[in-house]
């Protein structure tokens, strides 16, 4: 693993310790009960305790690894982190705008963003393709499969086309 990978490993190890400590602390608020009649906190405390120990050991191991001795070989191509960021952001933004903008507009927005970030050269092609994908998915899922998607005036209009 190269220096960047080691740093990532350490950050994740710290996040895991944080998660386990938070989980264990929250478990103590629940009633433990007794061995004869274990309460709702019995299992979470056991899980949280073991998880905390394991994540601390994992963190210690990650810290002990230190810096790599040799300089890592350069990776074959640059990784497309912008695409990762946009896809994750689209996934987070989508539920936030879905209620207000309804299905067609919000899905069009995130689909276009993803298409564009993966190949930025063909702007108008992606606008057209995103439009086709969104309308096709609405027809397939809402009309054919009966999935209940958020409907606004646009969706109602599209839903009733063709009777």
């Amino acid at each position: 693993m190269d220096g960047n990978g080691r740093r990532k490993e350490k950050i994740i190890a710290v996040v895991l310790v944080g998660f386990s400590v938070l989980y264990l602390a929250s478990s103590f608020r629940l009633e433990i009960g007794n061995p004869r009649n274990p309460g709702p906190g019995f299992f979470p405390i056991a899980i949280g305790g073991i998880l905390t120990v394991c994540t601390v050991i994992h963190l210690a191991r990650a810290l002990r690894k230190g810096r790599p001795r040799e300089k890592a070989a350069p990776s074959v191509g640059r990784k497309n982190y912008r695409a990762i960021a946009v896809i994750v952001a689209s996934g987070i933004v989508y539920p936030l705008i879905l209620g207000t903008l309804k299905f067609l507009v919000s899905t069009f927005a995130v689909t276009f963003c993803m298409l564009y970030i993966l190949k930025p050269e063909r702007l108008f092609s992606w606008i057209f393709l995103a439009l086709v994908m969104v309308i096709a998915s609405f027809i397939v899922f809402s009309r054919l499969l009966g999935v209940g998607l958020p409907m606004g005036p646009l969706e109602v209009f599209l839903f009733h086309i063709g009777g």
């Binding site: 990532k8 994740i12 629940l30 994750v88 993803m114 190949k119």
Partner: protein
């Protein structure tokens, strides 16, 4: 025996209804496509389609998933042989000799042997699944909470041992999965846990967005990370598909060996189809009269592993149908689909919903026929799928995931969880964590907690009474041995090498 044949005939009668034949066909085609596409394995396909199984009945959902699982095993070999790209993990071993055969102009023969081997293995494993499930479910009817606790715990222990990678990382993933499963209302006491006052969280963290995020979206992110590169697609001529007599003679026994081995390995927890291929490859090399040909295009090295990974699929269904416990992530998806339809697999399901069990079994036979009929003549069509540009394929997958998750509960929280777990899966896999134990623990965790609390209640808080029962003790000892034996052999090896160096 008479009863079994009657039930099977009934299963065939139902499985041959047009709608189930259509589900089997769709599953087989989708499975082959996902097997062909590197990155998107059967798990991703099942995760993406999980929510859409709600539009069909439980039997239809099972038939679709079985088709996907088997189809992926068939499809995975195609790209391994033709392009040296394993479509999914269970086809990695096929690359070694399959691609060598392809370089020597025997790609067609390798593809035929792999398809026929998969068909034989599929048939043998379905027979094994039928009898093993009936036998095991009879025994499981006598199990109490302590035994189910032992099965759950031992399953997870074996999973840690066999899932590969760091043991500590696997344990952490299991515990995180169990922790996530505790969110929501505790159904024994009715008290809310870790909901932080959120009404939607009181229903618990749904399995679907987590599975779709960790396997579907994370897979998309990993693929999106790399810049596009398209391998030139090879064509296979129809007349090249027939193996020579010598090739048949070498491969048929390997197919049967791989089938039996694969089925047995499929019964144990972990990524059994992957393990089965490696074990089959090693054993074929050991018993071969020409081990020097391995790695240079030996046909047994294609026939054995390809049969083994298909047989392992049938084996993996046994613990799910007989005990209600999924031992592989794919089986967790099958369990998820059953639970979406309000069904809990286990020993009682086979009695209460015998129609479902036998129809699924019969449809597996049909699916195998469909796969062999589809895969050999249409090999060039499936390989052309690799030509679909990833910048169109990836947004389509994300779109399907988002609509799929939303369609189940119309919940925006589920959509948010999908994105979060997609990113979590991507990050964790980047530093070597395997997400499969997390998913399995999320499914098995609640069963372990309920069994533990019930068992303690029955024994009056006596832990020894929960552990020291004949069946439980046997299982705990077997599970412990998987850790003790490798550790002991390591110590013995070290001591031997020390005494050897002292003498010299």
């Amino acid at each position: 025996m008479w009863e079994i044949s009657q039930s099977l005939i009934g299963g065939f009668a139902a499985a041959l209804s047009p709608i189930y034949v259509l589900y089997a066909l769709v599953g087989a085609v989708l499975g082959t496509i996902t097997g062909v596409l590197p990155g998107l394995g059967p798990l991703g396909a099942m995760a993406i389609l999980l929510s859409f199984t709600l539009t069909m009945d439980a039997t239809g959902a099972m038939i679709l998933f079985a088709g996907i699982y088997y189809g992926a095993m068939y499809g995975g070999s195609t790209t391994s042989i033709l392009l040296n790209i394993p479509g999914e993990a269970a086809s990695v071993v096929t690359c070694i000799d399959g691609y060598e055969m392809s370089k020597r102009g025997r790609a067609g023969a390798a593809l035929t042997v792999s398809a026929v081997g998969s068909f034989i293995a599929g048939t043998i494993s379905i027979l094994g699944l039928m009898f093993a499930t009936l036998f095991l479910s009879d025994i499981a009817l006598r199990f109490g909470p302590a035994e189910f606790l032992a099965i759950g715990v031992c399953g997870l222990i074996l999973l840690v041992r066999l899932s590969g990678g760091s043991i500590l990382q696997s344990i952490i993933m299991i515990l995180v999965g169990m922790a996530l499963a505790t969110v929501g209302v505790d159904f024994l006491s009715g008290i809310e846990r870790f909901t932080f006052g959120n009404l939607e969280l009181s229903q618990g963290i749904e399995f679907l967005p987590v599975a779709m995020g960790i396997f579907g979206v994370a897979e998309v992110l990993i693929t999106a990370e790399e810049k596009e590169y398209q391998q030139p697609v090879k064509k296979v001529k129809m007349r090249e598909l027939l193996p020579t007599r010598r090739e048949w003679r070498s491969s048929v026994p390997a197919m049967f060996r791989g089938s039996f081995l694969g089925f047995l390995i499929g019964l144990i927890p972990g990524p059994s189809p992957v393990i089965a291929t490696f074990v089959s490859y090693i054993s074929e090399k050991k018993i071969s009269k020409h081990p020097e040909e391995f790695g240079k295009g030996a046909i047994e090295a294609v026939a054995g592993p390809e049969s083994a990974n298909n047989a392992a699929v049938g084996g993996a269904y046994v613990p799910l149908f007989a005990l209600g416990i999924p031992f592989t992530p794919a089986m967790a998806m099958v369990l998820g689909a059953l639970m979406l339809h309000g069904l809990t697999p286990g020993p009682s399901l086979i009695r209460e919903r015998a129609d479902l069990f036998w129809t699924v079994i019969a449809s597996m036979y049909l699916g195998n026929f469909m796969l062999i009929a589809l895969n050999i003549p249409l090999v060039n069509v499936f390989v052309n799928i690799l030509r679909v540009p990833k910048n169109i394929l990836l947004p389509t997958i994300v779109l399907i995931c988002m609509i799929g998750v939303y369609s189940v509960n119309s919940s925006q929280l589920d959509l948010l969880l999908l994105a979060i777990f997609g990113f979590v899966g991507y990050v964790l896999r980047g530093v070597g964590f395997q997400p499969a134990p997390l998913i399995l623990a999320m499914v098995i965790g609640p069963m372990i907690e309920t069994s533990l609390r019930q068992a303690l209640n029955i024994t009056g808080g006596n832990f020894a009474g929960v552990v020291f029962r004949p069946i439980c003790m046997t299982m705990y000892i077997v599970a412990s041995l998987t850790f003790i034996i490798p550790a002991a052999s390591k110590v013995i090896r070290k001591l031997r090498s020390k005494s050897f160096s002292r003498r010299h």
